[in-house]
Amino acid sequence: MFKKAIKPLIAGIMLTAASMAFAAPNSDKNVLRMVPQADLKVLDPIWTTAFVTRDHGYMIYDTLFGVDVKGDVHPQMVDTYSKSPDGMKWTFTLRDGLAWHDGKPVTTKDVIPSLKRWGQRDGLGQKMLAAVDKFEAVDDKTFTITFKKPFGMVLEALSKPASSPPFIMPERVANTPANQQISDYTGSGPYIFKKDEFRPGEKVVYVKNTKYVPRKEAPSGTAGGKNVYVDRVEWIILKDGQTQANALINGEVDMLSWTPPEQYATLKANPKIQMLSPVPKGSYAMHLNHLIPPFNNPKISQAAIMSINQLALMRAQLVNKDLYNTCTSIYPCGSTYATDKTSYFTGKPQFEKAKALLKEAGYDGTPIVLMNPSDFTLLNKFPVVLAQLLRQGGFKVDLVSMDWPSLLARRAKKDPVDKGGWNIFVTGWGASDTMNPLFFAPMTGNGEKGWFGWATDPKLEDLKGQFLATMDPVKRKELAQAIQTEVFDYGLYAPLGESTNFTAVRKGVVSGLVDSPVSVFWNIKKN
């Protein structure tokens, strides 16, 4: 019986193998398959500050203003706008053709609650709302914002690309309490989110919004025309860097939004792959806990900052020279506010000066707790090298490894280290976060109400207040410089260097990526 079965069995196996052979690359030119920079879990870009959720937001929502690649603000949903001579009243008129994905028109009844909801969650939005006297809808397309105190960053706030951007949502959605997630993902942006095809951890699907009316200007940053040339975009969630690279090389996906650093050399050398960098460089920073000893003493904070060796840290983390550079400014190097006036900070180690400062400050040798997120491959080499640098600078260091969620929980603790507190951790930021001192969450000096580390620096808060109030670009530059000096003088935090995030695409297949402060996915063509 067995002998009779063998021949058909072998024939069946061969037939199966033949029919399955040759895995074809993704050749559908109307479907863009890309790997986003992280797994998209939360779909409400106001509720969370996660970068990938912000990227999702830019797919399906629009903003009143956008910012181009140079950082200049341009109207997006707005057609015309004006302000009173004293800057206390602003009038905005929406452009024609704006419609929600369900076909209903976008009106001021949607815009005002959207701004209010955003303003309850976002740091700059909170400052703006605190300065606002009232929002008024003049008619369906025109609304005003009247301020009760000067607010010099209206356009910057309304075009803000850093998390959270002020996305405009339908009134019914925007009326969701700010401490709850939305569940309706209707937007007015260039893509429509396919909720029925959403599989968290697997795939996110967007289709072209055929009714979207893009602006006529060329796309630049989050401004200009948001033209869509594909019918469908699929975000394929691939967590492993090697798997991402394999899928791209084999043509199963068309682009990797953020190329894993360890795959950079392999992909760059592959003739079928093209490496692009549409997004400005990100950066990393060492953050200190100023609430508890020893970094409640600015001199000791300065000593820690003096121990930094930017080149060693960046090389350890990113390895390939194409992926990093040093930059001592707290702002992205080459950006509007960046300068090389960084007080004592050179980015190079100054161990003897650090030791002298420690002695002067009376550092008693208590070990400082440096948290290391051992599972976070984009960060987990920094603390190891930093621990050694700090030791060379005269510190006693307790390097404590934990996973990223544990680090996030521990950094919220204000207790002394012997009761579970912390002294130092390292994290990364996008250029959209650091390009403006008011966008940058760690830039706080209001003690326990501020960001983790809880620095108490009234001078910093005063400088920020002046920056917020002025509309004079020259004065703003001076204030930005003063803020940078104060950051180093107080020892608030220190930049460790910049990283270039490459987007890898199939050469000759994908084109049209827009240079932008954040990842955007319109204008992309697939050949």
């Binding site: 509720w47 199963e252 599972d375 969450a441």
Partner: protein, 313 residues
Amino acid sequence: MFVLLARRILATVPVLVIVALIVFLMLRLAPGDPAAVIVGNSGTSADIARVRAQLGLDASLPVQFAHWVGQLAHGNLGESYFMKMKVTDLIAQRIEPTVSLSALTLVITILLAIPLGVVAAWRHGGWLDRLLMGFSVLGFSIPSFVIGYLMIWAFALHWHWFPTQGYVRFNDGFWGWLHHLVLPAITLSIIYVALIARVTRAAVAEALTEDYIRTARAKGVSELRVLLRHALANAAIPIATVIGIGVALLIGGVVVTETVFAIPGLGQLTVDAVLSRDFPLIQAITLFFSVIYVIINLLVDLSYLVLDPRVRY
């Protein structure tokens, strides 16, 4: 048998209660805070406190436990903190890939491991036995992700016979579904073939020393029939036990292979939930696995009735 079934079902209840209590306590006492993960890097302590209050995490542990048990009593396993979806829906999305991968792995494993083990036992001590057992040691020594990457390099990147990653739902086409599962299933099956081949070899080798084997041979029964109908049949119980353990591990613990091949299965869901401290999801998955393990153990015990008519419950 009905008494066995009833006893097992009743015994499941205290098991689930203990599992529920342990996982609940472990999650809340271990480091990590879902609220901190939710607010993200730019949030503040006030944001975390607000989210904790919203999620009910600022209540005392007994209150939180009572709330959860109350939900369970109404058949509500809760909603993911992050994805605003019912955890039952999230688990349901992941069951098909996991079951598909496990089933295909099991088929490959059984088709390869049992014949290999029988042959090795038949030629016990000979060069064939040593060769097969040497391969089996290699099989469970090499990490599955190494095997996976090698398979991808050869069969996907080099020869383009299979895709490097991904999963196609069964409803989207049988051949696409099968095509995407072949490489990960072969990768996973290597370690199970190694394990089950060794157990089969040991059990069959022992059975071959029994008197009834000598009797069968003396009566002129063919060697193939001696091996399959007499030796293997009597060695089936330990083999079935190990296969049962293997199935349980396949359902819950193949996260490395799932990651390498981007199979959206329960293993990845579990790891993602743990790394983001998605308490409702972790609790639900743990309870789900507990039920699965109880069912698998029961099926293995029931299989003894089929495999060995001498067994009675």
